[in-house]
Amino acid sequence: MSSGKLDKKSGEYAHHFKNPEHEFKSSIEGVWIFLTSEILMFGALFVGFFIYSNLYPEVFKYGSMTTDWRLGATNTLVLLLSSWTMALGIYYCQKNDKQKAFMNLMITVVCGAVFMIIKYFEYSHKIHEGWMPGMWFTGFDNLHHVLGEGVKIPDNIALYYSFYFMMTGLHGIHVLAGMGLVTWVAFRAKRGEFGPSYYTPVEGIGLFWHLIDLIWIFLFPLLYLI
């Protein structure tokens, strides 16, 4: 790419912008527009979740009883911590401290990894019990074991797991993508490619990472608590 030749840290900018400030603001606005498409994609799943949980309250009541809120809460705290260190990563780029910027960005990546490891244990437990989406659901006996023999479990209980795996799965893919992107800017920060006058990639990827946190903030109470 031709823009790769520009030394943006020293104040150079692409010719179709008025100044570096204009370039920065345009890039960030572009990221926000991308984030709207993410919100619309997840939004459709949330709308489906609200409507189906209203149509079949028992399905979602018994379904959420099979998730462990302690694991969900731990993952919430892990992602909040990662969002904070992501913000600090940008802060230290602005302060021209590349070592602290690298450290905070890497803590963000590690938090993402911890989140995915906890998610792996949750998934393997559910798969082991046969609590799978739609036609793959085989876990009626194991559900009775957890909820009690006398409980009348709705026939369409698999609906809960369809939403659970779809929503957390799509979110998990975003966490993995985010981890890769944050690693990339972390090493660029370590090489000293960013400074107070140029840190656009860190800011943009930071916005993406905060969106991942934002979505989990809503997924946690819906899937684990209510």
Binding site: F24, W32, T36, A73, Y91, K95, P221, L225
Partner: protein, 100 residues
């Protein structure tokens, strides 16, 4: 550069602590007390507050151009539209057994 706003470290720390506090609050209200039928509403309200904090400070909407706020709230508006029209459709259906 003149236009770049640097949010103070203390602000980030306070926002992070507030988010942790709200997470504890949402667990306590959902697991520790029975607020039915408002369980869902309370959890959603706390989640919306947390989302507001993340967007205002971590995503720096407070310090950026107004247009970025309009863009992102526009997407919320369209999700609401999707929700409203789905609800209008599904809850006004007449059962097939009806003689209407």
């Amino acid at each position: 550069m003149a236009g770049h706003h640097i949010v103070p470290f203390q602000t980030y720390l306070k926002v992070f602590l507030a988010l942790v506090g709200l997470t504890i609050l949402t667990v306590v209200t959902a697991k520790g007390m029975d607020l039915s039928p408002f369980n869902g509403a309370v959890a959603f309200l706390i989640a919306a507050t947390k989302a507001g904090l993340v967007m205002a400070f971590f995503m720096q909407l407070l310090y950026q151009e107004r247009s970025n706020s309009i863009i992102i709230f526009g997407s919320f508006l369209f999700v609401m539209l999707l929700f409203i029209f789905c609800v209008i459709d599904i809850y006004t259906r007449v059962p097939v057994e009806s003689t209407l």
